[in-house]
């Protein structure tokens, strides 16, 4: 178990490095420079600015310098968005905002999806099942910005019961969290329902029922254990994406979060910001995938991790 974890952590670090390098190469391959703007048209000035920030060095050397700096906690300064401000400072300002909304969305979407999925499977064929399946089918079919815009129009503009921008009070969290969480909720509902249906038809469930287990115990103790596995697989990467913020929801609700800022920094070619955000997302992603694999083992001890690394 320990060697497996160590091996996976080493692999994860390699993955993050590869992601970082690919992103670094990609953003440098995009024509244009962060310094071309209305202010500086002169190539001479641009060249001097690039020299100042070390952008005239060979790519590999730049990457090496950047990574060594990153490991020491030096993420460089923003080139464009907030000129010369420390990237670390910007991220510590924006990331908690996105993480708050993302965690809140995850916090309602996960339990709701699981519970409703179990309900649908339990009431298979009856009206709750039909209703929930229709909801889930619709929920995964509405594009994010459409949902966000419709929620905004309905609750913010027409009914005027919820604030439409910012995050000043807990009530301001409701709409963004709804918009961010509906798709994952419906997806989890579908996953749970499918897994539950399979498990409810298995022998050990019948055996548990014969031994006199009540409905609650049957569902939550015996069946949930098996049904939660596919949900966990989905929830790992999902959590990483939700925590780093969604561009659409953040722009529709004017939330000063990382998701919106990242897209803006890509469009502005603000290299250090792009790199730092990408590495943050990649770190979160591999960490959560690893965590899910370990959780797998805890939930279902039959799954042997070391073997899985090769076969599964």
């Amino acid at each position: 178990m320990l060697t497996y974890c160590l091996k996976r952590i080493a692999l994860a670090i390699l993955t993050v490095l590869a992601t970082a390098f690919l992103t670094f190469w990609l953003m440098n391959a995009v024509p244009g420079s962060p310094f071309y703007s209305d202010k500086y048209q002169d190539p001479q000035i641009v060249a001097e600015l690039e020299a100042k920030y070390g952008l005239d060095q060979p790519l590999l050397k730049q990457f090496g310098t950047y990574i060594f700096g990153f490991i020491q906690g030096e993420m460089g300064v923003s080139l464009k968005m907030q000129k010369n401000r420390q990237v670390a400072e910007i991220i510590t300002e924006k990331f908690p905002v996105s993480a708050g909304v993302g965690l809140a969305a995850l916090g309602w979407a996960m339990p709701a999806g699981l519970l409703l999925g179990m309900l649908a499977a339990w009431k298979r064929g009856a009206w709750p099942d039909g209703l929930l399946r229709a909801l889930a089918a619709l929920g995964v079919a509405v594009p994010g910005f459409v949902l966000a815009a419709l929620l905004l129009l309905l609750f913010g503009v027409a009914l005027k019961i919820l604030p439409t921008w910012g995050l000043d009070s807990w009530r301001a969290y409701i709409l963004p969290c709804l918009a961010l969480g509906l798709y994952p909720m419906c997806y989890i509902l579908r996953l749970t329902r499918a897994a539950m249906l399979e498990i409810l038809s298995q022998e050990y469930i019948r055996a548990a029922r014969l031994r006199g287990a009540g409905t609650g115990r049957l569902l939550f103790k015996h069946a949930l254990r098996g049904a939660i596995l596919p949900v966990l697989t989905y929830a790992g990467p999902l959590a990483a994406y939700l925590i780093t913020g969604g561009f659409v929801v953040e722009s529709v609700f004017s939330i000063p979060g990382l998701g919106r800022y990242f897209v803006q920094s890509v469009l502005a070619r603000d290299y250090p910001l792009i790199m730092a955000t990408t590495i943050l997302l990649a770190l979160l992603l591999v960490a959560l995938i690893l965590l899910v694999d370990i959780l797998y083992h805890l939930v279902d001890p039959r799954i042997r991790l070391a073997k899985e690394a090769r076969d599964e």
Binding site: V146, F247, V252, L267, L285, E312
Partner: protein, 358 residues
């Protein structure tokens, strides 16, 4: 099979030696034997699956919605005499079923004028026609992007699953890297760097260039980013299948790796592959609408449902119908593909028949 040597494709000979055979005892099969085996193994599944699909209400409703959407997108523009980029004089922000002053005069003179069913947009272009073309583009993006992702993903997944061992490990790590690279960055890169070469390659004009470098680079970006999901599914299936006896039989009959993957393993995964493709099409449509929302989507006079919805969002307080229509069509389209994909998956899953309730 053959755990010790991950790079080797050979049948594990230990099993045979134990039974008193050696590898050399196996001769390649002759043409008649091959023909007999192939005939005996010919599956008659397609008809049964189609039948099951048509009986499933879910898949059928998906198919019907898709058919209607196709009709709307492909045949629709022929029924309306306006072009998607034709600006009608005095028609700016026309409300649904209103006429411009010039058209009123024509009507008064007794000439037939095609009504603007959904009004016109801010530049005086007939909105219904734009919606039709938008649906066309969105369908095109979804289908072609998912097909590209299918080709790349199925190949990579089959390779990873079949080779196993180190090759598998490396390919799957590569997949992980691709799922962490920001997609906006990839699209932006392809768009900016491909614009010139594409223009030269395709020459000026032509229907392909009309799509714009944005759309073409989006196909490529989708192929680069979304093969991962397909590869995972195919790899899992191949891992499950490759230990089964029919693979051993194919190998014993002298089939090479390439042939076994193409003729035996991939057809076995066909169901899963089709189902995943049906579920990836909405992903492509989502991505396109999101990129159009950012302004990275289709080139200007052309519209997709995503760019129409993004435009509609801008003027949503005065013209809410211009957000509602494209949003409704997008939702219907994605819903239809989801229904079809789910229905297909159920139809292909042999367990569903026994599971069906009386």
């Amino acid at each position: 099979m053959n755990k010790g040597r991950p790079w080797s494709f050979q049948v594990d000979t230990e099993r045979f030696r134990y039974a008193g055979y050696r590898e050399d005892d196996f001769l390649p099969a002759g043409p008649e034997q091959l023909a007999a085996v192939i005939q005996a193994a010919e599956p008659a599944r397609a008809g049964r699956i189609a039948g099951r699909l048509l009986r499933s209400r879910q898949a059928l409703s998906g198919l019907i919605i898709l058919g209607l959407l196709l009709l709307f997108a492909v045949v629709g523009p022929m029924a309306i005499p306006y072009g998607y980029d034709q600006q009608i004089r005095g028609g700016n922000h026309l409300r649904p079923l209103e006429y411009t002053a010039a058209e009123e005069q024509l009507l008064a003179a007794g000439d037939p004028v095609c009504p603007h069913w959904l009004g016109c947009d801010g530049l005086g272009r007939d909105y219904l026609v734009r919606l039709m073309y938008g649906a066309r583009i969105s369908l095109l993006v979804g289908l072609s992007a998912a097909l590209v992702a299918l080709a790349v993903g199925a190949a990579m997944g089959a390779l990873a699953g079949w080779l196993g061992g180190r090759a598998d490990l490396i390919l799957m790590r590569v997949a992980e890297v691709f799922s962490a690279v920001p997609d906006v960055l990839v699209v932006l890169l392809l768009q900016v760097s491909l614009e010139e070469p594409l223009r030269q390659l395709l020459g000026r004009g032509g229907s392909f260039v009309a799509l714009g470098p944005g759309l073409i680079s989006m196909f490529m970006a989708f192929a680069l980013l979304y093969w991962v999901g397909m590869a995972r599914v195919v790899r899992g299936q191949v891992l499950r299948l490759k230990g089964q006896d029919f693979v051993l039989a194919a190998r014993a009959l002298g089939g090479g790796s390439g042939r076994i993957i193409r003729r035996h393993l991939l057809p076995h995964c066909a169901g899963e592959i089709i189902a995943v493709t049906c579920l990836q099409i909405p992903g492509a449509i989502f991505l396109e609408s999101f990129l159009s929302f950012l302004g990275l989507g289709v080139a200007a006079p052309l519209a997709s449902l995503g760019s129409l919805a993004a435009d509609g969002l801008g003027g949503v307080y005065s013209y809410p119908d211009r957000l509602v229509w494209p949003a409704l069509l997008l939702t219907l389209m994605i819903l239809a593909f989801n229904l079809l994909g789910d229905g297909l998956r159920d139809a292909l899953d042999p367990r569903t028949e026994q599971e069906a309730r009386p």
